[in-house]
Structure formats: structure tokens, C-alpha cells
């Protein structure tokens, strides 16, 4: 008897029964529970856990008024997904959210999730689509640990370095520019660190898999929204002066760069803009034929990098 058949029969029986059934009764009635004693109990516990993880609530209650023995049942009210009673535009909007979460996955569980709410995977406002790639098993493990405050271990490879095992109290998850990060207290470095999920090379393992309850507390006032740089520069940030071709300048102007005057006869525009991330500004300038005028140290760095490249290509 295959496992899926056993589980379907088990759910039907526990939904159908009017009173709690003991483990022995279940084993007698459902084909596939050929084990006995402790191994039967373990087999049933695993099945029960699996059903719970799928959203099927197996409940336990005394089988008689004396409470001498406990039995199992599924309350049909607790089992069934209630009608959401969605208007067509609400249904389409929720389908958009579901699709954004699961991304392009063909995972049967994600498809089943849509069907539970009768959300048509193909419907929705197709004028807009987002992808959060939320259905990956790695992300599921991290969200589970963040939610349960479980200390975790994983193998992490920073760019250009060797992979090492890291221990983390995961406080929060952050998604910026389509990239997921897990942020928390790094036990080995005793500091707050963020890790790019795509650079995690192992499963997420709980350090204390069997312990119940949380492994740590998140510090009061911790705000995941403030962890990583978002768009916009703080007031009073250091400013740079650059000379940029017209096209590059138009794009920079949209992001807070201010022209100091009309374009020069040669078409270059002089702009003032916040330095922000130094390497980001340097890379942008070098890749777009933008000359850095000020500050002097950034100008010197740009010249140094260009001279370095010339030495490489014109030996």
C-alpha cells in the first residue's frame, strides 16, 4: 500500500468518524499500518506531522468520559478552507500576489495552494508581474527559523572566498532589488551580519532541531526595514561634481543629480550629486565616460584605475 493512499484513507477516516479513534482502531481500519507497538506509533506520528505540515489539523481527545485513553479525529470545520467570497478584481489581485510569491515554480504544492483559494494561475492583471521567488526550499527553511527564532547552521561562500560554516540567530529576512538576505547575530563573529541567500551552499539546519521554543530573543527596537541601504541619500551626505555626456546626465538627474548650468558646447553637462557608495559612483563614472571633478580623492582614484587599465592593455 503506497503512502499517499494510506494518507488519503487516513484523512477520510478521521474526517468521517463521529468520535475519536485510538491508534489501534486507526491501524485496524486503514490499510498500510502493518506495524505494531512502538514502530506503529512512530509511523503514525510521522504521518500526523506530515498532515499537519500540509495544513490538515489532526486533533487528539479522550475517547471516553474517564479519559482513560486518547483518540484522534479531524474536525471538518477546522479542516476546510472557508470561502473568501472574493470579488473578481480581488480574486485577480490575490492571484497576482500568489504568483509573485511562488514565481515561476511548477511545484505541485504551490499549484495546490492556488487551487485552495480557487485562484486561476493564468488570470489576474497581466499588465503587472512581480517575482519574489518565495517557494524555494532554502527560503522556506529560513522563514521557518526566523518565525520560530531557531539558531541555524549553513555553509556560506562570500564572493571570491572559500565557503565556511556559519552559525546564525536569524532575526529577519530582507528582499532588496530582487535579492533575498537573511540578517541576524553571527555567533562566531559576535556581530550583526547579513547573508545573501543565493550564496548559501547547504541546507538550513537547526542547531537544536529537537528543542521546543525559541533559541534566542530579537533585540527590542530591531527594524529589518532599516538594515540595508534603500533608495535616497541622507541629508548632508558628501557631494561630488562630475562632467557627464548628455544621455548619462539625464538619467542621473532623475536620481537627484543637479546640473550646475546648461550643457557646454561639447555636449557635456556638469552635475552635482551625492557620493553615496564610493565604488558605485566610480564604476558608474568609468563605465559611462563620466569625468569626476570633485572630490579630489575620488578624482585621483578614477585616474589611478584608468591608468591601471591602460598599463594592462598597452604594455
Amino acid at each position: 500500500m503506497r503512502k499517499v493512499e494510506r494518507l488519503v484513507n487516513l484523512i477520510a477516516l478521521l474526517l468521517d468518524t463521529r468520535r475519536p479513534l485510538t491508534l489501534d482502531q486507526v491501524a485496524e481500519l486503514v490499510p498500510g499500518y502493518e506495524a505494531s507497538g512502538e514502530s506503529l506509533r512512530r509511523m503514525f506520528e510521522r504521518d500526523k506531522e506530515e498532515l499537519r505540515s500540509l495544513g490538515v489539523p489532526v486533533e487528539r481527545a479522550p475517547i471516553d468520559a474517564w479519559g482513560s485513553e486518547e483518540g484522534y479525529f479531524i474536525d471538518p470545520e477546522a479542516y476546510g478552507m472557508p470561502e473568501l467570497d472574493l470579488a473578481p478584481d480581488e480574486r485577480a489581485a490575490l492571484a497576482l500576489a500568489a504568483r509573485a510569491w511562488s514565481g515561476a515554480t511548477r511545484d505541485p504544492a504551490a499549484v495546490a495552494g492556488l487551487a485552495k483559494l480557487d485562484l486561476d494561475p493564468g488570470a489576474g492583471p497581466d499588465a503587472l508581474r512581480a517575482n519574489l521567488d518565495g517557494a524555494s526550499p532554502l527560503l522556506a527553511g529560513l522563514l521557518e527559523a526566523v518565525s520560530g527564532r531557531k539558531r541555524i547552521v549553513f555553509t556560506y561562500r562570500p564572493p571570491g572566498r572559500t565557503a565556511t560554516e556559519r552559525r546564525l540567530d536569524p532575526y529577519a529576512m530582507v528582499n532588496r532589488r530582487g535579492t533575498w538576505y537573511v540578517v541576524g547575530h553571527d555567533g562566531d563573529r559576535d556581530a550583526l551580519r547579513s547573508f545573501r541567500v543565493s550564496r548559501i551552499e547547504s541546507d538550513i539546519r537547526k542547531l537544536r532541531p529537537t528543542s521546543r521554543g525559541a533559541d534566542f530573543e530579537v533585540p527590542a527596537g530591531f527594524d529589518p526595514g532599516k538594515l540595508l541601504p534603500t533608495a535616497g541619500e541622507p541629508e548632508g551626505a558628501p557631494m561630488a561634481l562630475v562632467r557627464a555626456p548628455r544621455a548619462a546626465s539625464r538619467l542621473a538627474e532623475l536620481r537627484g543629480a543637479a546640473p550646475t548650468g546648461p550643457p557646454r558646447p561639447d555636449g557635456l553637462v556638469t552635475l552635482r550629486l551625492p557620493v553615496g557608495d564610493r565604488d558605485g559612483l566610480l564604476g558608474w563614472a568609468l563605465g559611462n565616460s563620466v569625468e569626476i571633478v570633485e572630490p579630489a580623492d575620488l578624482r585621483a582614484e578614477a585616474r589611478r584605475r584608468l591608468a591601471g587599465l591602460r598599463a594592462v592593455v598597452e604594455p
Binding site: L13, Y79, K116, D126, R129, L138
Partner: protein, 332 residues
């Protein structure tokens, strides 16, 4: 690297599908094999196997009348005697959390929020979640920060483009072509706005190029809505137009080699490279193909001096020339 899915996961996936499939078929009497297969993203063979499994399951004593009816009748899927499974199981906390987190992130976009439908749908969802699940979802939402917005300039343009796409109106955009570093003005039929690999894109018909094009929204310099209506191509399939671009830039064309220093090895993760090999000096040699040498020249300058153009000679010469001309500005 994601871990391999074990057989248990697929059994769980199949069970989840079965528990959702039965009530769906009961709710949609007369659904055809094709309709069910499309909705559950399955093949006909898988559906038949699922029906055969249901046909031998039910409640004790598993006689006639205790087992479910499940078969294909003509071309219609028939399921009966399945009252236990008349409703789908509740969402797992993970499903509820994913839906809620994605919904909140999307509802932070002005073009979604102004419709109001998503906020209403999320409120209805919250109203039916069991109290303990709702608490857990709310608590997690306080620990997960998803920002789909992009910078303010991008948000403004994306909002206008999404509105135009939803109302079927042509737009005129000024667009900065990243590969050539030029600014162009063009009329576009905005088919769809989508996010992929950390960027927002517009896919649509470009009247200047006379063809389907993808535009990165953060390179749109201005958007002017027009009153001219447009139609999407017949049978427009969003999934077929929502792929991140770049492949046409990297498919075929001139093969080039770069030697990357440690600090710029991210290039190998970021672009679809054809091959990579560690050099004796520790640098990473990558090979990639491009139809536009100018794009690669700009990349090498941006990475200066840590990426060395190795081959072909045209690339090396073009980089040398661009470097000379950039250095001229710094000579004073």
C-alpha cells in the same frame, strides 16, 4: 544551490494536489481533462494516475459506496462520493505567510494600491485565518522586509507605464540604451511591466524598432502617455514575455575572454558566461559572447583595472582606445 527534493516531498506534493483537486472538480462539474490538467499543471497521465488512486480510497470497510468514484467520462473528469473532501484543506501557515508577504509588498506599489482590490482581498484573507496562524503571519511580517519599489524616479515611471499597460494606451518614452550609451525617443505599446532579477522591465511593441522589445524601467528617462489605444497580440501569454532579457545580448555573436581579479569575480555570477577557468596567477578567465562589443568595453572600464580583456584583439584595442580618451579628461 538548492537541496534536492526527496521522495517524501513529492509524496507530500501529490497529496496536496489531490486534496485540492477533488474539491475543485466537485465545484466545477463537467470540467474537462484539459481544464483540470491546465489548472493543476499536470499531464493527462498524471491525472489518470491520480484518479486511479482516488478510485481505491475512501472509508472502511472500503466496499462499494465507501470508495470514491473517480474516472474520465468521455472527456470530462468525474469525481463522486467524496463528501469528506468537499472543501480544500486550509492554507498552511507557510502558504498564508507567502500570500500575505507578497500581497503587502505589492500593495506598497502605488499602481496596485490605487486599485484597492488587493487590500480588500488581504483583509478577507486575514478574516478567515485561524487566530494562531494569523498571529504567526503578522509576527513574521514584522520580520520580513520586501521592497519592490526601486528608487523614486523608477517608481514614477513604472507607475505610469503600468497604468498605460492596464488601460491599453500607447506611450512615448525617452530611453537610455545601456549597451550604446545613447538616449532615444520612441513610441511603445506597453504590454506588461514585470520584475525579474532585481529590475523592473517593460515588455512591449516598439514602433521605432518595429518589433517586440524589452526596456529596463530604471533607464526610462521620461514617459508621455498618449490617447492612442493598442491591442496586445492575439493569445498574448504573459509568461512568455516575462523573462529577464539579456539572452539575446549573449546568445551567439563575438566570443570574448576576460581575466577577472578576485574583487570582480561577481561578473561570473551576474552574466551568463560560456566557460570559466582558474589561471595560474589566481585570476578567473571567463568566456562570454556578445553582439555588441561596446557593451563589453563599458563593462571593462567600469571594472578598471581588475578585468583584463584577453581576446579577441578588437576588444583589447577598443578598450585601449576608450581608456586613452577617458584619461585625456584627467590629464589637466
Amino acid at each position: 544551490m538548492s537541496p534536492q527534493r526527496g521522495p517524501d516531498t513529492s509524496a507530500a506534493g501529490r497529496l496536496q494536489r489531490l486534496l485540492a483537486l477533488v474539491p475543485w472538480v466537485l465545484d466545477h462539474p463537467g470540467a474537462t481533462v484539459d481544464e483540470v490538467c491546465e489548472r493543476f499543471d499536470m499531464t493527462r497521465e498524471t491525472l489518470i494516475a491520480d484518479l486511479e488512486l482516488l478510485y481505491v480510497t475512501g472509508v472502511p470497510p472500503y466496499g462499494p459506496g465507501d470508495l470514491m468514484e473517480a474516472w474520465v467520462d468521455g472527456d470530462k473528469v468525474h469525481i463522486g462520493f467524496a463528501d469528506w473532501f468537499a472543501r480544500a484543506p486550509r492554507l498552511t501557515w507557510r502558504e498564508a505567510a507567502g500570500l500575505y508577504l507578497a500581497g503587502r509588498a505589492l500593495d506598497a506599489l502605488p499602481e496596485v494600491a490605487e486599485q484597492g482590490a488587493l487590500a480588500r482581498a488581504l483583509a478577507k484573507l486575514e478574516a478567515v485565518l485561524p487566530a494562531d496562524q494569523l498571529d504567526r503571519v503578522h509576527e513574521l511580517a514584522g520580520k520580513v522586509s520586501v521592497d519592490l519599489e526601486g528608487d523614486p524616479a523608477e517608481t514614477t515611471h513604472r507607475t505610469e507605464l503600468a497604468r498605460a499597460a492596464a488601460s491599453g494606451r500607447r506611450v512615448e518614452i525617452e530611453y537610455w540604451s545601456g549597451s550604446r550609451g545613447e538616449l532615444t525617443r520612441r513610441k511603445v505599446d506597453p504590454w506588461m511591466v514585470f520584475s525579474a532579477s532585481g529590475h523592473w522591465y517593460l515588455s512591449g511593441w516598439c514602433h521605432k524598432a518595429v518589433g517586440e522589445r524589452l526596456f529596463r524601467v530604471d533607464r526610462v528617462v521620461s514617459v508621455r502617455p498618449t490617447d492612442e489605444p493598442f491591442e496586445r497580440p492575439a493569445g498574448f501569454d504573459p509568461a512568455a514575455h516575462g523573462e529577464p532579457p539579456g539572452l539575446e545580448l549573449f546568445a551567439g555573436g563575438l566570443q570574448c575572454e576576460l581575466d577577472l581579479g578576485h574583487t570582480v569575480e561577481w561578473v561570473a555570477d551576474y552574466f551568463p558566461i560560456l566557460a570559466s577557468q582558474r589561471r595560474p596567477d589566481g585570476r578567473l578567465r571567463v568566456r562570454l559572447a556578445t553582439h555588441q562589443l561596446s557593451w563589453l568595453v563599458r563593462l571593462v572600464l567600469r571594472l578598471a583595472p581588475d578585468a583584463e580583456p584577453v581576446s579577441p584583439p578588437e576588444l583589447r584595442n577598443a578598450v585601449a582606445e576608450a581608456t586613452r580618451s577617458a584619461l585625456a579628461a584627467y590629464s589637466s
